[in-house]
Amino acid sequence: MVHILLFAGLAQQAKTEKVTIDVNSPLSVEEIRGLLQNQVGPLKGIEHALVAVNEEYVELTDQVKDGDTVAFIPPVSGG
């Protein structure tokens, strides 16, 4: 299982902050992003979101494995 976290506008569109996806083999971040939208519907602006795996920023081509937490991080606006 991969745990997906959504925030701000993405969570609002998905109507949830947490999604879990079953994975049998390692997938890329980009593939996870596709599976996520298959499950919850299209998420506008997700292509502008950074992705963190286990709380570290990663690239779209990086691999995600069973047990990882994948966070989609829309443009931040703290401060």
Partner: protein
């Protein structure tokens, strides 16, 4: 108190300052971000901040480390509040101490710019005429190349 802190409670500025004062500090530059009522002709009623808390605290700590590389004697503390904030509430307090004042100003300014680039915190403005997640709607505020400049991987 943690030196790099995301909190639901009101921020006590002096608590943040106390984290960085020491015998060879001669200057402390403190930046306090407060909730402003008017932005152009839009009137804010209140704000809501949310964060990916554990990662946000790690990223704040990373900013402190970046500062220590650039200004080797600088000590940094940052608290960012989340939840619902009213006009004039403190959203973020940054304190940086250094031996000499120039570095304190530069490092403090660096910290607030980096918070706006790499720390997973989001602000929702509740205006008198509607609400909006800041930075989420406009292409201009999206990360230009998928990553903010300087994000370490």
């Amino acid at each position: 108190m943690k030196r790099f802190n995301i909190t639901n409670e009101p921020i006590n500025n002096q608590d943040v300052i106390d984290q960085v004062i020491h015998h060879n500090a001669g200057a402390v530059s403190v930046f306090i971000g407060t909730v402003r009522e008017m932005t152009g002709d839009k009137q804010t009623k209140f704000l809501h901040y949310e964060a990916y808390v554990p990662m946000a605290e790690k990223q704040l700590q990373k900013i402190g480390e970046e500062i220590l590389v650039k200004w080797p004697k600088a000590i940094t503390a940052i608290s960012h509040r989340i939840g619902t904030l009213q006009i004039s509430d403190v959203a973020v307090t940054i304190a940086v101490s250094t031996p000499h004042r120039q570095d304190a100003f530069d490092a403090s300014r660096y910290a607030i710019e980096r918070i706006k680039e790499i720390v997973p915190i989001w602000k929702k403005e509740h205006y008198t005429d509607g609400e909006e997640w800041v930075g989420n709607q406009k292409g201009t505020e999206a990360y230009p190349a998928g990553h903010p400049e300087g994000v370490e991987k």
